[in-house]
Symmetry: C2
């Protein structure tokens, strides 16, 4: 029995993960991990997710250089959701989103529509070459 | 086409939801919503989730009195994760977790084990009568 066994993996062997910026408290992104991704994250102290679309391990920042340094790994009361406290590396301010924005949660409901309310920090075409 | 149609609901018609305390930035909990839950949340400005275990709408606080006032509803870049900015009502400091803690994410990985590092604010037996 290890700490990895305490996690309640879902039917696909995954657990949802929230990445929160330690310094600002901003929620940066949401992704998934399998057992190996979580083990690697804990060992390397950099976020490694499971890409459901590509069906492979995804070392966040492997293409963009925007790695996530992991300060804390937390687990919720049901043992089925993980929260990371991170520093978003590679750019100041940190860019977690593939659109070149700080956070993936840049759309806000205003009236009857979603509005992009946060700026693009850096052109994604200059991030992903 | 409404703003609800823009959400990419999963195969079960659900979307993952992160509730973050507006004042502190603390991530309080993680849950799920179906279309009706999100519509009710937007209309009432109180968080209404979909309970997967009970297979019914769950007005957060209906048993505990610890409702969540919703200030902002955000959507991520893939349109498949929702972030709420809330005030956790009914107690000061707010109690979002059924264990009587402020946040559900009270377990931290330390060495090779999960450690409960945040205190119980109020005995859950006195919350759920």
């Amino acid at each position: 029995m290890t700490w990895l066994d305490a996690v309640r993996w879902d039917a696909d062997g995954l657990v949802p993960v929230i990445a929160q910026e330690r310094a600002s408290g901003d929620v940066l992104m949401f992704a998934w991990m399998n057992r190996e991704a979580l083990a690697r994250t804990a060992e390397s102290r950099q976020a490694v997710y499971w890409s459901r679309s590509r069906q492979r391990l995804w070392h966040k920042g492997e293409e963009s250089g925007h790695f996530q340094q992991v300060h804390e790994i937390r687990l919720d009361c049901d043992n089925d959701v993980v929260l990371l406290k991170v520093t978003q590396l590679g750019h100041e301010p940190g860019i977690a989103c593939h659109t070149g924005r700080h956070s993936c949660f840049y759309q806000r409901l205003e009236g009857a529509g979603w509005v992009a309310v946060d700026p693009v920090v850096k052109d994604p075409q200059s991030i992903y070459r």
